[in-house]
């Protein structure tokens, strides 16, 4: 009798666990479907890049600016023609980093990048790269761009496309010049880490 009831109790527990599991799995599927339907069906390249821009901030240190005023925002700026549109705004919406709120800014002149932590330089500015990088030389700003040769010209992070995947290269020399520390986690993910001057 004891073994029978013991077995049945065990079986019941297993059954209830399965039921529980199935119910939760169903719920997760429902939620997933809802999320999927709420978002654009195709994840665009710049949507990913916008998310990456925000994430770069999480693996970078800005020495000397630790004592970030809480009221000060963590600005992610776009110089030149904005390829992100609303994607960048939605990527930073509600996000904080080190207690500061993330904010997307569009600027037209490199001189306006003084309060930017991360500066995405649009391909539209490819012809003025020398002037731009020169203007930024004294600023502690993480420069990111998807224009070709960006790293070799002194940029810090350059987006690449590996098939459908968005990847990036890192120029360590430029990083040091800007006085920034990149996390080894980030370096680990870079396709190449160069030391171009």
């Amino acid at each position: 009798m004891a073994t029978v009831s013991g077995m049945s109790r065990h079986a019941w527990r297993r059954l209830s666990r399965h039921t529980h599991f199935a119910a939760v799995a169903f719920a997760v599927t429902l939620v997933g479907t809802c999320n999927l339907s709420a978002q654009p069906t195709k994840i665009t390249e710049y949507k990913v890049k916008a998310a990456y821009l925000a994430n770069f901030g999480r693996f970078t240190e800005w020495p000397g600016t630790d004592s970030v005023n809480k009221s000060e925002s963590f600005n992610i700026c776009v110089l030149g023609q904005d390829p992100f549109g609303a994607d960048l705004d939605s990527a930073v919406a509600g996000e904080t980093i080190g207690g500061a709120h993330m904010l997307a800014k569009r600027i037209s002149r490199p001189q306006d990048a003084a309060d930017c932590r991360i500066l995405f330089i649009s391909s539209s500015e490819a012809n003025q790269w020398k002037e731009i990088l020169g203007a930024l030389r004294t600023l502690r700003v993480l420069t990111v761009s998807d224009m070709p040769q960006f790293n070799r010209r002194g940029g810090i992070i350059q987006f690449l496309l590996d098939g459908n995947r968005v990847r990036f290269d890192i120029n360590l020399a430029a990083t040091e010049r800007a006085g920034l520390n990149l996390s080894s986690e980030l370096l680990k993910l870079a396709v190449t880490v160069s030391r171009s001057p």
């Binding site: 599991f21 994430n55 999480r58 693996f59 980093i97 990847r167 996390s183 680990k188 993910l189």
Partner: protein
């Protein structure tokens, strides 16, 4: 099979102690085992949790930058953990992001749900430990790690533990057994020795043995002391009993000797008195006869009658003296045993009785009598007295029938003399063989009352027994046995002791 309660104390003690120590050890080992198992499980969970945390921490960037390869690189570090079967990193939406499998058998399972409000959960199921943990980066959940681990290590440890327990148990029990043997000898030896002593006492009835005493002042020591004390008392009582018995025997012997001496004295006295009475009696008889011969014609017929009475009286007294002398003589002499044919002895007696029974109608019926070891003279007197008695008390019968023979009585051959005379009242049977005891009036049947006493004394001298059965007016039977008749020394042939004893009439 013997029951436990029938086991010897030694075996009982051994069994009990072994059982107690065995059970105690086993319980202790089981308790430690359960504790060990619990510790092992919690340690496994802890280890797996740490692994999950490390994987999570190292794969955060990979998740954030969608680098599955990097995630897989991170997961491949789990190679160093041999118990991990498979592991996976899942995105927040629950889709597999990076997977690690040990060997070919693993598969990527769908991620189990994380209970609400928790960052980690584990299950022991299907011989596996499963653990999921949220990957939290800078306070934000960004994915989930899932690790499956087999329980081989735990099972291995358990097997090891069982082995250790078995070894500990066997070594401990062996040690316990050896110790027990050593200590038990001290505890049970006094009991065993006590039991052995008790056995000797009850079997051989010797109370001089003692249980070896011990220096232990425990219950067994007390028991042994008490037992020995009891033996001492029994022995003392035994000795006292024996002493008193010996004393008693000695006293009996002494009294018997005294009695014998007194008896002898009495007999000697009787003999001398009887002997000395003869001379004056002879004078009375002689002078009475002289008076009749010398002065017979001058005497008045009345006087003659008186003289005749005197003569009869003296004759009677002479017979009495003779009988008493005979009785006394028998008391003083030991029978000289020789093989004697009772048949010829009886014939001799019948010849002697011929004159006495002249004119009587008596049918003598003599059966086949054996040869016996006896004193022929004394035995002839026995038959003479018994046969003349029979003839006397059958006087009123015509014809008188007297049987002499042998009969089996309670497995013993006894001789008998039966008559059809006046018999007697069995009430007085015990007085029959007393000296001067008579059951009939002197006027009816003459006699001195010494004859049967003489017969009894002779029979007793031969180690035999005599008794009588009778009924008034229907006759009497006298039975007698001789021990020599009993021991198979009866012989068909042998020298007949035809010697004539000094048989006297009763």
């Amino acid at each position: 099979m013997l029951k436990f309660r029938d086991y010897s104390i030694k075996k009982k003690l051994t069994l009990m102690n072994m059982l107690v120590s065995g059970v105690t050890l086993l319980l202790a080992c089981v308790a430690f085992g359960v504790y060990e198992l619990a510790t092992l499980r919690s340690n496994m969970v802890k280890t797996l949790s740490i692994q999950a945390q490390m994987v999570g921490a190292n794969s955060a960037s990979a998740l954030l930058f969608n680098d599955a390869k990097s995630g897989e690189n991170t997961l491949s570090a789990l190679k160093a953990a041999p118990t991990v079967l498979s592991s996976g990193i899942y995105t927040l939406a629950g889709e597999p992001f990076a997977v690690y499998r040990r060997g070919a058998g693993g598969f990527v399972p769908p991620i189990p749900p994380m209970p609400a409000g928790q960052t980690e959960e584990h299950w022991f199921a299907d011989k596996e430990l499963k653990l999921i943990r949220s990957i939290v980066f800078q306070g934000k959940p960004i994915g989930t790690v899932y690790i499956r681990s087999d329980l081989q290590e735990m099972n291995h440890r358990l097997v090891q533990y069982v082995g250790i327990v078995a070894a500990v148990l066997s070594v401990s029990l062996t040690a316990a057994f050896l110790l027990l043997m050593a200590f038990q000898r001290a505890a049970t030896r006094p009991i065993l020795q006590l039991a052995e002593t008790a056995r000797i006492v009850s079997r051989e009835k010797t109370y001089s043995v003692r249980a070896p005493s011990t220096d232990n002042h425990d219950e067994v020591g007390l028991l042994i002391e008490a037992f020995n004390e009891m033996l001492v008392q029994i022995q003392a009582r035994d000795a006292a009993l024996q002493t008193s018995q010996e004393e008693l025997e000695q006293r009996v012997t002494q009294r018997t000797a005294e009695l014998d001496a007194t008896n002898k004295e009495l007999e000697a006295f009787t003999y001398s008195v009887a002997h000395d009475l003869r001379a004056p009696l002879r004078h009375i008889q002689g002078f009475s006869n002289l008076l009749v011969e010398s002065f017979g014609p001058q005497l008045e017929p009345e006087a003659k009658k008186h003289l005749q009475r005197i003569g009869e009286g003296t004759q009677q007294m002479g017979r009495l003296i003779d009988d008493l002398l005979s009785l006394a003589r028998i008391g003083r002499q030991e029978p000289r045993l020789q093989a004697t044919g009772l048949n010829s002895l009886v014939q001799e007696v019948l010849r002697d009785l011929k004159t006495e029974t002249e004119g009587r109608d008596i049918q003598w019926q003599v059966g086949d009598l054996p040869f016996v070891d006896c004193d022929p003279g004394l035995m002839k007197q026995v038959f003479y007295n018994l046969l003349s008695n029979a003839a006397k008390y059958t006087r009123p019968r015509k014809p008188a029938v007297i049987d002499i023979g042998q009969v089996s009585w309670e497995g013993q051959l006894v001789n008998f003399v039966r008559d059809n005379g006046v018999g007697f009242n069995m009430k007085y049977a015990d007085k029959l063989f007393g000296v001067f005891q008579r059951l009939h009036r002197k006027e009816d049947f003459e006699g001195t009352g010494v004859g049967l006493a003489t017969v009894q004394r002779i029979i007793h001298k031969h180690g035999g027994r005599i008794w009588a059965e009778a009924e008034i007016d229907k006759g009497a039977t006298f039975f007698f046995s001789l021990t020599s008749q009993n021991d198979g020394r009866q012989r068909a042939n042998g020298p007949e002791g035809g010697k004539n004893g000094d048989g006297k009439r009763t």
